[in-house]
């Protein structure tokens, strides 16, 4: 995302507000926040150079598989398809301490070494059914995994979910993104529709 992109978002937003209030467009809008835009993560297509910050390139590619195993491709893209693995590397670097970095690297190693031991193949080369089985065993602390490994995997999984459901795809395609609900209605019927995307995450 670029500074100009953020700028356009703000401009469109304020115009919408002022029109809804019946006001003119005389109010200005805030200028770009170039620094914020520069810091922001942009998904990099596979094969293009991406300088990892916390994970190795091998770990990053493995994490991509883990992302797509946890949140796979359906009618909407999976977590790995939209670059959540790169997002996690970026987010770990900016928002988490070294202890978390090393635990996340370690749990990726655990996934890999246990896959080799159990199946004789690296995790990335397992078929998708086996990948699901493998991560399910890890998440439930089934043999050979420990409770601590389960806890670390839960944290990695939470990062995958956060990265996915705060992405444009996750929030507005997989879920329903409502920038302006237009008011609160306390009672509507639920007929199985997708839930609301998160806007106010805090």
């Amino acid at each position: 995302m670029t500074a100009e992109h953020m700028n356009q978002s703000r401009r469109r937003f304020l115009q919408g507000v002022l029109i809804s209030l019946g006001a003119g467009l005389s109010n200005g809008f805030i200028g770009e926040n170039a620094l914020a835009a520069a810091l922001s993560y942009r998904a990099v297509p596979d094969g293009e150079p991406y300088q990892t910050k916390v994970l190795s390139n091998e770990q990053l590619m493995m994490l991509k598989k883990v992302c797509n195993t946890i949140i796979p491709t359906t009618e909407t893209p999976g977590a790995g398809d939209i670059g959540v693995h790169g997002f996690i590397d970026h987010q770990l670097y900016h928002c988490y301490d070294l202890n978390v970095h090393s635990r996340m690297r370690a749990i990726l190693s655990v996934i890999e070494t246990s896959s080799l031991r159990i199946y004789g193949y690296p995790f990335t080369e397992l078929d998708s059914e086996r990948q699901v089985v493998h991560l399910t065993r890890l998440e439930t602390a089934a043999e050979p995994f420990s409770e601590q490994q389960r806890a670390d995997f839960k944290q990695l999984k939470a990062l995958v979910c956060f990265g996915y459901y705060t992405s444009e795809t996750g929030a507005s395609q997989e879920l329903v993104y409502q920038a302006y609900p237009g008011g609160f209605k306390g009672q509507i019927a639920y007929r199985g529709q997708a839930g609301y995307g998160s806007l106010a995450y805090y």
């Binding site: 703000r10 359906t74 609900p181």
Partner: protein
Amino acid sequence: MYIKESKQEYDAIVIGSGITGGWAAKEFSEKGFKTLLVERGRVVEHRKDYVGEGIPPWEQPLRSKVSLAEVEQQYHVQKNCYAFNDSTKHFFGNDRDLPFETTKGTDFWWIRANQLGGKSLLWHRFSYRWSDFDFNANKLDGFGNDWPIRYQDLAHWYSYVERHVGICGQKESLPQLPDSEFLPPFDMTAPELHIKQRLEATFPDRKLIHGRQAHLTKPSAHHLAQGRGQCQARNECQKGCSFGAYFSTQSSTLPDAAKTGNLHIAPNSVVHSLIYDGISNRVKGVRVIDNEDLSQREYFGKVVFLCASTLGSTQILLNSRNKTFPNGLANRSGVLGHYLMDHNYNAWARAEIPGFEDAFYSGRRPGGLYVPNFYFKPDPKRPFLRGYGMSAGAYREDWKALQHKDGIGIAFKQQLQKPGKWQFWLGAQGEMLPRFENSVQLHAFKKDKWGIPQLEINCRFSENERLMMLDAAEQGQLMLEKIGLENVSSGQHDKPPGSGIHELGTARMGRDPKDSVLNGFNQSHDIPNLFVTDGASFCSSAVQNPSLTFMALTVRAVNYAVKEVAARRI
């Protein structure tokens, strides 16, 4: 409207531009007083400067999170506020520039908002009147001094501010929680209505009511004329609201004040101290350090209103000590800096609501429900004094809750697409006793970058507050079990004072100049043209959120001051 240097003698100087300062500026300027609003921070303009508003999460650099380095270097205290995130951080004080000390063995979260609008941009907007059960409490059990006012002194002023602010809620005719002038409440959800009915039938002394909040659910012509619009139920208020749908200085009081042509604003003006004239026994003005270049200047006025936040106002008075008032200006009583209070939010209960799978809601309600204090009548059999209210609400789990469940793959993804179970929660908001030893003083030698002595805060919750939270957790558990909810749990936090962000006291009102700083009109007993109308003036905390009450106190004090000026007594 914005000034820097000025030789003018203003009719009124208002220090601080948050909820009370905005009101004081509006009232004075509408009454024809040439008014100077002094603000220590930068200008924040309505709409234009709400830089975090309307940006979806995927366009935010860290998807709403603040980087670890930034938190550690600049926001190690502010990060504790529930509303602190990347879209709001610019409205929080920078801890690096705003150091304070806590006495050894104590802790205090001092949440700051030093810009035009102050915490009116960040507040949680709950607005409840106090009743005579609250104003009588100190007198009945002897903790703290007697409030010099009663409900009838404020009732008219509550109505006055409510009509302007816009408070949504529903009439209930409760003795402990007088009704406001209401806009329609936000809807309750289906399970909330069910729980309300069950709870009130099972516990006849308890009510579950609509939260009362400063939101325009249905703006009146008066609100539309302020340039404000209807609440969109985004629940992102603290980013700033370009609809002006919640009350803030920017959306509501400042535009009115500006319209009069009587208002000047001096931003980036950190008040160092008040200028006192011993011959006339009047405050003559304020000494200011420039927020940015640290240069000094002075402003002069005939009446001075301190609205700089509870601890901000008291810090200014303490730092204005002189030969006449060696322990702090207007402090002949010796109680300035003492009887610091907050609210205690350290107990909770939650449960799953069975059923209601076919019920849902639309939009994000920026607030919830409320269980008014059911201990409002003193009872010697209770192991603690005073009581608590409870915030409450129901919601359906979304991906933020469901992500923690076990599951990998397509079924997991499909599960997160749908709303989960209904959940109900209760959070206590307990009264904190006014105690002399909970206090602030100027640090002996540590100063901030403006050369102002830092505050040293010495504040603890007492055994009374601990016993109250124990009870609140037990009662919460009991209530949710008795009405048939499932998987009920409850517990306590150990958050320190300040975490409620309802600092109160330290320059309290009272009838007797020997044990209070201010009289019943928020006027200094010692110096007639000096008023403090923010939370510092409170004698007790009650259980209700304080903002509506200090709004009412402020407009009442301005009305009084204007008459006193006309009668030449000030």
